[in-house]
Symmetry: C3
Subunit: 208 residues, 3 copies
């Protein structure tokens, strides 16, 4: 449908669906203790498609899930799945890990889609970062939780690594599939390391 | 002006104005104890047009109130009216009831406008739900209140009922006026019942 | 690039860059005690370009910083500058004063750009107000702070003064440069007076 999308190859749209599904799951989990099944489905939808919606509005693309029934239904299905499965399947760090997957997938896909619409490299990478973080911000705002941006361990940095790496590797001539795979893996690995070892940057330099 | 809007008939734009006016009133009421009259007018504007703005951006329509001085002035007028009338007129459950009216009106109008722009049925209904909830979310975020999405009684469900019913009745061939009236009434009635009897869904299934 | 922008003259885009830079600074300052340098850069970007993004989406213009690498880099540079300079340079009221500058600059530029896209006077002024306040709202939501809209002293009013004055002076036939300078100065002066003397409107009229 969109003439620019074929440049993304057959692989990248799956990254987008992966990001949508795991952000939807993290949205449904955030609503689990606070609302009912319909509210959880609403959280799943907003968290799942929020980042992609922002990306499409920023680059001037039609908001793709609006024209595509399957994507919205995917979010609702994820919410129902989580609602009707035992709490122990999803407890503990599940939300953190789903969020890490979504962060890496969205950062790369957002960057790739921006590049395919002719956005210059630096803002394209920034848009990957923005849209990767947008779903989680929306989820936290809706749930009234402190923003996951402000967790002590690295959060925006892995998104920036994934987006920047994808731009750099693409500029170096790598095929989009390879660049995306390497960039998403690196971003996820850094976020995983941040979760496991509580990696963080040094604090504000000017304090002393 | 917009070639797609005539399909909405002469009735539906009034639903939109109703939604804008009552959300504007709920925004002004939320700011009443926290700010001044200009801040209240700002809250009224953002809450009143927030849902419709999101809807128009999502479906790729021009943001209609931006090209239409009367709509924005309506929000400001509502805010001034509320500011200069006695507190007892608006106390108690007034905000809840205005919000319920706006929820039902926006859910139906958002769905109908999305359908008139060629959006498929499922995302069209979801957009009605999203945009009906967006005004209240914005109001709560601006006011620093817990999101009305997380009230214990049904909130998203009545919006989903109104939006889904409008899509279903339209697909069944009802004229848009009749479908909208039935759907908005059903959504408002369910939200009213939820307020009066504190209706809620059972909690998270997987807890046990 | 944009055919409508020449009407803004050579002066006004500098107002936009000023607004972006000072909002970016206020975003980076808000993140300083809560995150790392990458998070601060993210806050600077979102706070800096948030208002302009909303403005461009509302009036149907392409989101200009997305097509313009320098603007986003400006936000990142401001964040790095603030991160690596001593805390005492930026303590106390620095955020308030930067926010006041950004408020006045964005209110006028947002109004002028809306007028240049053919938006009628009243919504054009309202869009100046909306977009001037949007950056600060986003910053406060991201940082989990109470919204600066709800500070006791005048906040929305100076934005409304700047935006309204720019529309009025332009309609009276003043050249856009003069109108913008007078309007931005008046808006900044009123916000400055509000900070210094804690100016406020009388509270809710209907309480008694």
């Amino acid at each position: 449908m969109n003439p620019a999308l074929p440049q993304l190859g057959n692989f990248l749209p799956w990254l987008d669906l992966l990001g949508i599904a795991v952000f939807a799951a993290s949205g449904a989990l955030a609503a689990r203790d606070k609302g009912d099944v319909v509210t959880a489905a609403f959280f799943a939808l907003v968290t799942g498609v929020g980042g992609g919606t922002l990306r499409d509005l920023l680059i001037g693309a039609p908001v793709w899930w609006v024209h595509h029934p399957f994507v919205a239904a995917l979010c609702l299905g994820v919410a129902v799945l989580i609602w009707f499965t035992p709490v122990r399947w999803w407890s503990g760090k599940a939300l953190d890990w789903l969020d890490a997957l979504g962060l890496a997938a969205y950062a790369v896909f957002g960057t790739a889609k921006a590049l395919s619409f002719g956005i210059p490299p630096v803002p394209a990478a920034l848009m990957g970062v923005l849209t990767a973080c947008a779903g989680g911000i929306l989820r936290d705002v809706l749930a009234g939780e402190p923003s996951s941006l402000l967790r002590p361990e690295l959060y925006v940095t892995p998104a920036a690594l994934a987006a920047g790496l994808h731009v750099a590797l693409t500029l170096l001539g790598l095929p989009v599939f390879g660049a995306a795979l390497i960039a998403a893996t690196a971003g996820f690995a850094l976020r995983a390391a941040a979760i496991v070892w509580r990696l963080k940057w040094p604090g504000y330099f000017g304090r002393s």
